[in-house]
């Protein structure tokens, strides 16, 4: 036991020694000693020499309190030569910090005078990183839990490699410049300005709110996103939103890497602080109830030539605004939203104006935001779109399908077209043979010719002749559904609801609905029941007023009583519902769609079943 005691005592002694030694030997002392040696060789006067000879490594720190919370920056403990102009070609960490006129530095009598002095600004106010760290790993913010790694320099270990390689570069520092230099087109932050312009040009402003700039409500508020998220998240989310938020409806915009970089820098500069702004101004900004007019409105309008007709003005507006970052028109194709080339044949003026003002007034589950642009612009853009009547000369049925249908329904007809993930209800999967043969041909002809109101399926009646429509249908049957259409036995379903509409009937219908239907259709009958994500096609949103108005009682009865082949909708008469029950349910569904206003009053308001919040605080 005594031997064991001796051994363990020795261990403790050695261990303590190691700990103590470790504490007092650091890299920064070595760096400073190197500096002293090198500076000694460059010394010109004996006074300088003797000062350097006697100099011992000392912790260098600057305490800065002008930028939010008081911060202590110890970067100069390693970067000791940062203000010594003789070291501009030395190896890091002993290199001089560059001077430049862009940063406001002034060359006086051959000597540079720094505008942003380290004693006033410290280092992390511009470069980020962890000021109090005394090892490179700590100070540069390499540790995964540190929220502010050095901008454009430190790549944290858990960043995806293909994203990380874009995130190096001095330009990322501009995001921090913008925290003081927040003016719109500040010369020193060109990428912030570019990112800001892209924020409007790409259409981000429609869904996202940034204080003072935009008031979108569909996506999260980005006013402080630069503080909340790191650059890799911002970049990655722009590239593929669903990789980070699986249920996101954010489009995957077609952007070049340069554009993404500018956007990331702009977003990183949104930190909810503006050190160049007075407290009073900040307070006004925070408490104003006025919605900011999107910058692009003024910017775009200022570029318009004078004396244009409404349609010509509309053309320039469509090109100037963000429309084409989603839609297709002419040479531009965002790849996200429908093709507008034949919009004049497909929609009328009332529809277009309403859709501009509040897209959900016409397509209740549309993911197009209400952009809040001036009404006059909407009128002009409508006038322009009405002139888009050039459906490309389509020849055969196959080509018709490929040009007009495939964008949504997919080249294979499986409902997985380019636009499909952004559309609600999703485009029909035409490969479902059971569905395709269960409905009369007339119904499909009507869907194509007159469109399906309340959805994104447009009326092609003015684009395609009846013959062409039949041709496309034949093509779909033969090549996509691989089914033969056959005559159907007519089912015994009333044409009109035999149960009269009454409050009692609707109330009974509600009871049955709550017992049977909410699993898929949801408690609110909006198609968002707990099972809804597991079935394809998704359950119908029964609050889609435009759709319901266009749906006959006969069709509702048929769907409920006999189910819908090729979908998860069961045949409810097999589960014991009587015709009266179905009648009550139909009355309930109708009652849900009577009190909703379908025409909005102002361009900013959004009616309907929108759940907004999530980030609006607890």
């Amino acid at each position: 036991m005594r031997l064991a005691l001796a051994v363990v005592s020795l261990l403790v002694l050695i261990g303590s020694g190691v700990v103590v030694y470790d504490q007092f030997q650091s890299r920064w002392q070595d760096d400073q000693k190197t500096y002293f040696t090198q500076a000694l060789s460059l010394a010109k006067t004996s006074a300088e020499r003797s000062a350097l000879e006697g100099r011992e490594p000392k912790l260098e720190q600057t305490i800065v309190s002008g930028f939010g919370d008081s911060r202590v920056d110890r970067c100069e403990s390693c970067h000791i030569a940062v203000d010594d102009p003789r070291f501009d070609t030395a190896k890091e960490p002993l290199r001089t910090h560059p001077y430049s006129e862009a940063m406001g530095d002034v060359l006086k009598n051959g000597k540079w005078e720094r505008r942003h002095k380290f004693t006033e600004f410290g280092c992390t106010a511009c470069h980020d990183g962890q000021g109090r760290g005394l090892t490179a790993e700590d100070a540069h913010g390499e540790e995964l839990s540190w929220p502010l790694p050095m901008a454009g320099y430190t790549l944290q270990a858990d960043w995806k490699k293909d994203i990380a390689l874009h995130l190096r570069g001095k330009e990322y520092i501009q995001a921090n410049c913008a925290r003081c230099h927040a003016d719109k087109d500040f010369a020193g932050t060109p990428l912030v300005s570019k990112g800001r312009a892209l924020f409007f040009k790409t259409g981000c402003f429609g869904c996202h709110r940034i204080e003072g700039l935009s008031s979108g409500t569909i996506g999260p508020d980005l006013s402080e996103v630069g503080k909340e998220r790191k650059s890799d998240y911002l970049w990655g989310h722009i590239v593929d939103p669903r990789a980070y938020t699986s249920t996101s409806v954010m489009p995957q915009f077609k952007l070049t890497d340069d554009e993404r970089e500018a956007l990331v820098i702009f977003l990183k500069s949104r930190q909810g602080v503006n050190f160049g702004q007075s407290d009073v101004a900040a307070f006004h900004l925070q408490t104003t109830t006025e919605k900011p007019v999107p910058e692009s409105a003024a910017a775009v309008e200022s570029k318009l030539s004078a004396g244009l007709s409404s349609a010509a003005r509309g053309e320039q507006l469509v090109e100037g605004y963000a429309c084409l970052s989603c839609h297709k028109l002419g040479d531009h194709d965002g790849g996200i939203s429908p093709d507008l080339s034949s919009e004049g044949l497909v929609r009328d003026q009332a529809w277009l104006v309403d859709h501009f003002r509040v897209p959900r007034s016409r397509v209740p589950d549309s993911n197009m935001p209400a952009f809040g642009l001036p009404d006059a612009d909407y009128e002009d853009m409508t006038a322009y779109l009405l002139t888009r009547t050039s459906a490309s000369a389509v020849k055969g049925a196959a080509e018709t399908y490929k040009t007009l249908c495939a964008r949504c329904h997919g080249e294979k007809g499986d409902g997985k077209g380019e636009n499909a993930i952004y559309l609600d209800p999703a485009p029909r999967d035409l490969t479902r043979a059971e569905f395709m043969v269960s409905k009369p041909q007339a119904r499909f002809v009507a869907s194509i010719k007159d469109g399906v109101p309340g959805t994104s399926m447009p009326p092609w009646g003015k684009v395609l002749s009846d013959e062409q429509i039949n041709g496309v249908l034949g093509y779909v049957y033969a090549n996509i559904a691989h089914a033969q259409h056959r005559d159907l036995k007519p089912r015994k379903v009333p044409e009109v609801n035999p149960v009269a509409m009454s409050e009692a009937s609707a109330s009974r219908g509600e009871t049955i609905f709550l017992q049977r239907c909410t699993g898929c259709h949801g408690r609110k009958a909006d198609g968002r029941g707990p099972n809804s994500l597991d079935i394809s096609p998704r359950p119908r949103n029964l609050r889609n007023g435009a759709f319901l108005q266009n749906t006959t009682d006969h069709r509702l009865f048929e769907s409920i009583s006999y189910g819908v082949e090729g979908t998860a909708m069961p045949s409810w008469i097999d589960y014991g519902l009587s015709q009266n029950d179905v009648g009550d349910i139909v009355n309930y569904i109708r009652s849900l769609n009577q009190t909703r206003a379908t025409r909005p009053e102002t361009s900013g308001g959004a009616n309907g079943n929108t759940v907004s919040g999530g980030n609006s605080g607890r």
Binding site: D22, R132, L134, S145
Partner: protein, 437 residues
């Protein structure tokens, strides 16, 4: 005159020796009597018996687990007090202080690491100590009350660790405590009030931080110290560590009056030999006390003097514990995650590892998993020495007479360990099963 002067000089010359002798009244012992005297004339050492069973000293018997727990507590107290000089229990300052400890404070990293790893170790070692005590049947009468004190100490240790867990005020801390206090909220009748009392608010915030801080640095250490003191006292009163009764004594016939003559003793040579004639003393029996027999004049054969054997063993365990904690703290950093963000719970949000078994249970049933089953387990634990009263199998590991008790206990232990393992490695986002490989 010259007499006084020479006596003053003599006093000055003898000053160092006199100082030492006044502090250490008993010199370093060189005889058995001296060794005995050292044990009971020293303030710190008299908690220990004069002689201690050799069996109790055997490392394979106890593995020193109780001692390790105690020394970990000492390490925690010392490092804790040092940390208290730097830490501020404010939601706006706490995290920054943690960062400062890591980067700015001399020895800050090692200090914090030692505190953290010693805390985790203490929970584990206390648990292992409890297992050792059970599996050697050392809870049996007359040690039932000490077993209860031990269970209380276990709960206090868990609670100490839990209150300390919140103090860094990072994401890990915040959500672990959110989950932990919500489990507490499931207790019947008192759950809501209990949770409110812990948090001082509806949610974890500044109030909770302050309360947990006070509990962690004042209330719990004081209560723990008290219970530890009772625990040690009880060990002595119960006759030392439990060991098999190898010797059955016949009751000794004791005369009514006993005369003990003391032998003359020589004091330690420090300026000559002094012979003191000890007076003769008479002792009268006051009464007979029930309890373990104190054997007068007849010693168990397998005991040794506490000084120096027990001391050396304790010192060894102390230094081993310190060495272990120091080594782990040197190589592994205590975690510090992102600062608290109430809008972004991590997915999954996990309680500290010793509560993960509980959290796993809670994911099946909030009440039964979080309150019901643990309460039943705790109750059974406390009742064990009152249910199992037979005195067989005490002091031996896995005694065959006690096989069922051991099997039952080990079953519970293994189930809990498995639950903790599942909760730690096999649960991912949304508490779904994931493979850790």
């Amino acid at each position: 005159m010259s007499n006084e002067k020479s006596s003053i000089v003599k006093d000055l010359v003898n000053l160092p020796a006199n100082v030492v002798r006044s502090v250490f009244r008993n010199p370093l012992p060189s005889s058995d009597r001296g060794r005995a005297a050292t044990s009971f004339t020293n303030f710190f050492l008299h908690i220990q018996p004069v002689r201690v069973s050799r069996q109790a000293l055997r490392p394979t018997y106890t593995m020193g687990l109780g001692l390790i727990s105690f020394f970990l507590f000492v390490i925690l107290t010392v490092t804790g007090i040092l940390l208290m000089f730097y830490y501020v229990p404010s939601t706006t300052q706490a995290y920054d202080r943690m960062l400062d400890l890591r980067s700015s404070v001399a020895f800050g990293i090692i200090l914090r690491n030692m505190h953290r790893w010693a805390a985790h170790a203490m929970v584990a070692v206390v648990f292992l100590h409890m297992c050792r005590v059970f599996l050697t049947g050392s809870y049996k009468p007359p040690r039932e009350f000490n077993w209860l004190v031990g269970v209380a100490l276990f709960i206090l240790t868990l609670f100490s660790s839990f209150t300390g867990y919140l103090l860094p005020w990072d994401q890990l801390a915040f959500w672990a405590i959110t989950v932990g206090t919500s489990i507490a909220g499931y207790a019947p009748l008192v759950g809501h009030a209990l949770r409110f009392m812990l948090l001082g608010d509806a949610t974890v915030g500044q109030e909770a931080l302050l309360r947990f801080y006070v509990l962690h640095v004042v209330v719990l250490p004081v209560v723990l110290t008290l219970f530890v003191a009772i625990h040690f006292w009880r060990i002595r009163k119960d006759g030392g560590l439990a060991r098999p009764e190898s010797v059955i004594q016949a009751p000794a016939k004791v005369p009514v009056s006993v005369e003990i003559a003391e032998q003359p003793v020589s004091a330690m040579p420090m300026g000559g030999t002094v012979v003191v004639a000890a007076p003769t003393r008479r002792f009268t029996i006051q009464g007979l006390v029930r309890g373990p027999l104190v054997k007068v004049g007849k010693l168990e054969e397998d005991t040794v003097f506490s000084w120096p054997n027990l001391l050396i063993a304790e010192l060894f365990v102390l230094l081993l514990t310190v060495a272990g904690v120091m080594a782990v703290s040197y190589f592994f950093n205590a975690p510090l995650e992102q600062p608290v963000n109430v809008m972004h719970p991590p997915n999954p949000a996990k309680a500290p590892w010793y509560f993960l078994g509980l959290q796993e249970q809670v994911s099946y049933s909030a009440f039964w998993g979080g309150v019901g089953v643990p309460a039943i387990e705790l109750l059974l634990l406390m009742l064990v020495p009152y249910i199992d009263r037979s005195k067989v199998g005490v002091g031996r590991w896995f005694a065959r007479e006690r096989v069922w008790a051991n099997v039952l206990f080990l079953t519970f232990v293994i189930i809990n360990v498995i639950l903790i393992i599942i909760g730690t490695f096999f649960r991912g986002a949304n508490w779904q099963f994931v493979s850790p490989f």
